[in-house]
Symmetry: C2
Subunit: 192 residues, 2 copies
DNA sequence: CAGCGATTCTAGCGTTGCTAGCCAATCTGC
DNA sequence: GCAGATTGGCTAGCAACGCTAGAATCGCTG
């Protein structure tokens, strides 16, 4: 059985290679540059190999999105841990979230903008997704008023951050006032 | 000069035809179905004709987006006019906005999700865009606290609505609780 | 070492957005 | 009223896309 084990190991390694190459290519040149041909060349295999690992391009993007959620979760955890108080933690998390979207647009798009075949709002959602949401929840929960469902409040807050991030990045909201909008949002959610 | 006038009239009419066909095709079958070939067949002309009117497919989508903004502006105006009070007006506008995104997803995507070559946050933005934003502003302005910039507050509120709309429609937020999230948002923005 | 499976590659299909160059219909000047 | 110029649409085709069938090659087994 050792030989089959090695094969599966190599296979898993190559799958990791594909996802990494797709992520790096997307982050440096955008998702439009991530074609199956280009990606195959990058990993030094032929095109059809990709399809022996993933159902199609969307599935590769989904895998990248999951990785991205893990990254985001780490950043959010650090941001919250470094903040002295409840309100500061929320602000830090919000700032980190929108900054993540600005710094890593391709990754963010795969996670939250593009249509990817991923279960999100269910228990079958991949762990990194639930993890990232959990980091938001941890920051929002303390500011929930009596009778407010923390989960729903987190979803609402998340949506607001997502809207700010995407509209700003697409040029529909002017960049400069971003911090002020963020402050307004925090203010209204912390009841100030 | 009358003959040239007629030509320009016919040309403008055909341009209207292109935009309308693109919008209808997108609304019924999604933007993926709007290929240049399909669109050309729909208007009963050949492909290259499209390029004598628009620089490319993106420009056609942009034209559809502008139409969509006009439609949205009308709906928002009606919603606000029918509401008895300030808070109700805000709720009605929010409800109308997200419902628009749900009822006309292709149109909404062209307006606010897809990358379209349109100036947004500047004075050169097409009139329907500024009009739609103005409808939001009119609903948000009355609930702005002292010292809060109504414009910035409107942008923030808009972003929240946009986030709710897109995340819900892409399945990242569960549909059923949408109304509750909307209520939470309104609550926090009206300081309740 | 021969044969057999599994796996990778070559080649190609159907579509996409977009464009070059031909061709015909229309307007202008004699 | 008619030849010449011009506008404008159409046919045909390019390069690139996601994806797949079938050939070919690799590595293990007896």
């Amino acid at each position: 059985m050792s030989i089959q084990a090695r094969r599966e190991r190599e296979r898993a390694e190559r799958e990791r290679l594909i996802v990494t190459a797709a992520r790096e290519l997307a982050e440096t040149e955008g998702w439009d540059a991530v074609t199956t041909r280009r990606l195959a060349a990058e990993i030094e295999y032929s095109q059809p190999v990709l399809y022996s690992h993933f159902k199609g391009k969307e599935a590769i993007m989904a895998a990248v999105a999951v990785q991205g959620c893990a990254d985001l979760a780490v950043e959010l955890r650090q941001a919250r841990a470094a903040a002295p108080g409840v309100r500061e933690a929320l602000a830090a998390v919000a700032e980190t979230y929108t900054s993540f979207a600005r710094r890593r647009p391709a990754l963010y798009d795969a996670m939250f903008t593009h249509l990817v075949p991923l279960p999100f709002a269910t228990q079958e959602a991949p762990e990194p997704l639930r993890e990232a949401f959990g980091r938001l929840l941890a920051a929002v929960e303390p500011i929930a008023a009596d009778g407010e469902d923390p989960g729903l409040l987190t979803e609402t807050f998340w949506a607001a951050l997502h809207g700010l991030a995407t509209l700003t990045r697409s040029g529909r909201l002017p960049e400069p006032a971003h911090e002020q909008r963020l402050a307004l949002l925090i203010g209204h959610f912390t009841g100030g």
